[in-house]
């Protein structure tokens, strides 16, 4: 009857309810605090009411800007996502190429991994000024920052995940007559593909960090640019919805990658 807590698993409904509870508590806490501040000072900008935030969203997303006639939030979103996805795609391609080859070929391993390890130790933000000097203040330097920031991680992750593939498979492939290229193309690459998606998912957080940092420092649009811009006017009513929007985008990217992986590599997801 009295089951140990370590064995007490919530049912489906209870699990959802328990998951939603902290969100509800946070919203309620915010509402109470916001009301309290507004009661003291109706012009308080620090904790704007939900109505004010809604108005801000309406202004940013659904009303054309007076100056340019654009819908600012959508424009920020598309600029940021373009930079993010370009950076991640380049980093993933680099990671796959170098990680896979280093894991497959001992000569490539000896040649490239010490350099990758050294590069991965450089704090990417420290080289941002160099990127601005070399690549200018345009799109390129922001994309390069993301690549510099996450490519070494993806390379090392792919390298380790490739090494995890049992050596028995490599030997077996050779007894089936495979040459080096065929081992890579038919045994390693297809098995590394879902692991690459996993590595990209793990690096998404860092990619967002570098994107917003680059936009905050030198940009004329983008989600990061906007929240750092309106900070000057203490516009929490814009900043908070933007942060929620960025979080939602990050969540959707992550989910999309999982779905992609399950759809195309069902044999990899046999335990979940």
């Amino acid at each position: 009857m009295s089951r140990r807590w370590v064995n007490a698993h919530p049912g489906r409904a209870l699990k959802v309810a328990l998951g939603l509870l902290p969100f509800a508590c946070l919203l309620l806490l915010y509402q109470v605090q916001s009301d309290a501040r507004k009661a003291e000072n109706p012009n308080d900008k620090l904790l704007p009411s939900f109505t004010e935030m809604q108005a801000a969203i309406d202004r940013m997303a659904f009303t054309p800007s007076k100056r340019t006639g654009e819908y600012l939030m959508w424009r920020d979103t598309s600029s940021s996502l373009t930079r993010l996805v370009t950076g991640i795609a380049i980093a993933a391609l680099l990671g796959l190429t170098f990680g896979l080859l280093a894991a497959a070929l001992p000569m490539a391993d000896a040649f490239s991994m010490p350099l990758v390890t050294a590069i991965s130790l450089i704090p990417p933000m420290a080289v941002l000024p160099i990127l601005f000097i070399v690549f200018g203040l345009g799109e390129l330097s922001k994309v390069v920052l993301i690549v510099v920031g996450i490519a070494p991680f993806i390379i090392r992750e792919i390298y380790l995940r490739t090494k995890e593939i049992p050596v028995e498979q490599l030997i077996k492939a050779q007894t089936l007559g495979a040459n080096s290229a065929q081992v890579v193309a038919r045994v390693l690459l297809p098995q590394v593909a879902p692991r690459l998606i996993g590595a990209v998912r793990l690096s998404l957080g860092a990619a967002w960090l570098f994107l917003i940092a680059a936009e905050a420092i030198a940009s004329t649009d983008g989600l990061g640019y906007r929240i750092f811009l309106v900070r000057r006017y203490l516009s929490m009513d814009v900043i908070l919805p933007y942060v929620v929007w960025i979080t939602l985008l990050a969540f959707l990217l992550d989910r999309g990658l999982i779905i992609l992986s399950r759809r195309f590599f069902p044999w990899y997801h046999t335990n979940d």
Partner: protein, 303 residues
């Protein structure tokens, strides 16, 4: 080449070895010399694993290798497979020193991980042919691919897996995965088939079926088999020849000082009647299958 191999064996080892060769292979000098071990030794630094193995194996022998763990039986198999090299001495196949790299003339089935999880059963078997017929990417298309898949199906029938051709390895039981690993190896028609504790992870009931299958394949395809096992009765049941690996010299203060050698080389006759029964069955089936193949070819010609 070295006919008087026994001359160089230590006295004590000769005593330990009973009459070595089964009678059937005598008088066929070529056959008896198919695989030769010539003072084969292996050590890792000061750790001597194998010491001066000298013997020879004829074609179509089924050699089972038994011994305690760490006795060097797996090390020998690795040398034969080409993923380890001997420290001294030679291992020759048809008079040629064994290539120190895995190659299609030596098929392998490991205890686990012998199949590719990202390919279905049919693709797993077809892969071996695709490697032959392509250069870089190892992937065939169109008619060539269909032909290869049909060939794969032939081997899936031979191991009784044709009903599961579309499944992925994670959907198969342990026994079925080993059947698949056998089919993969057999498609390459290797001269030598190496089995590294292939049934170690299987249930006893399944194991019996696998014995029958392996004997059937061995007999039907005139394979030369080396099988490492820790199960002595399995070794006696399957082998035509049983090698026991052990140390003949032992220093209690330096257990690594001396390596193992083949202390017993037993011709096995225990399961002969059973083996004969399976061989007859196989011959009968091949007769039938031959007719089927003819029909299959005709259909192909029409297509």
């Amino acid at each position: 080449m070295t006919k008087a191999q026994t001359d160089v064996l230590p006295e004590s080892m000769l005593e330990a070895m009973p009459e070595a060769r089964p009678d059937a292979t005598q008088g066929q000098a070529d056959a008896a010399q198919f695989i030769e071990l010539d003072r084969l030794s292996k050590s890792y630094g000061d750790n001597h694993v194998l010491e001066e193995l000298s013997t020879s194996v004829a074609r179509n022998e089924f050699v089972t290798l038994v011994g305690t763990s760490g006795c060097g039986k797996s090390t020998f198999l690795k040398i034969l497979l080409g993923i380890e090299t001997s420290t001294s001495g030679q291992l020759r196949i048809e008079g040629v020193p064994v290539h120190p790299e895995p190659s299609p003339d030596r098929g392998i089935v490991f205890q686990r991980y012998s199949v590719f999880p990202h390919l279905n059963v049919r693709q797993n078997v077809a892969l071996g042919r695709e490697f032959d017929r392509t250069r870089i990417f190892g992937r065939q298309f169109g008619a060539a691919r269909r032909e290869t898949l049909a060939e794969a199906d032939h081997w899936l029938e031979a191991v009784g897996l044709i009903a599961s051709a579309e499944k992925y390895p994670h959907e198969l039981s342990g026994g079925m995965q080993q059947r698949l690993a056998l089919a993969q190896a057999l498609l390459k028609q290797p001269q030598v088939l190496l089995l590294d504790e292939p049934f170690g992870a299987l249930d006893p009931g399944i194991r019996k079926d696998m014995y029958e299958l392996v004997l059937r394949l061995w007999s039907g395809h005139k394979l030369t088999v080396f099988m490492v096992t820790h199960d002595l009765s399995e070794g006696f049941y399957l082998g035509t020849r049983l090698w026991v690996f052990d140390k003949i010299r032992h220093d209690p203060h330096a257990p690594q000082l001396y390596g193992s050698t083949i202390t017993y080389d037993l011709p096995v006759h225990v399961a002969d009647s059973e083996r004969q029964r399976i061989a007859d069955e196989v011959a009968e089936q091949q007769h039938e299958a031959g007719e089927v193949d003819e029909v299959g070819k005709e259909e192909h010609a029409h297509a």
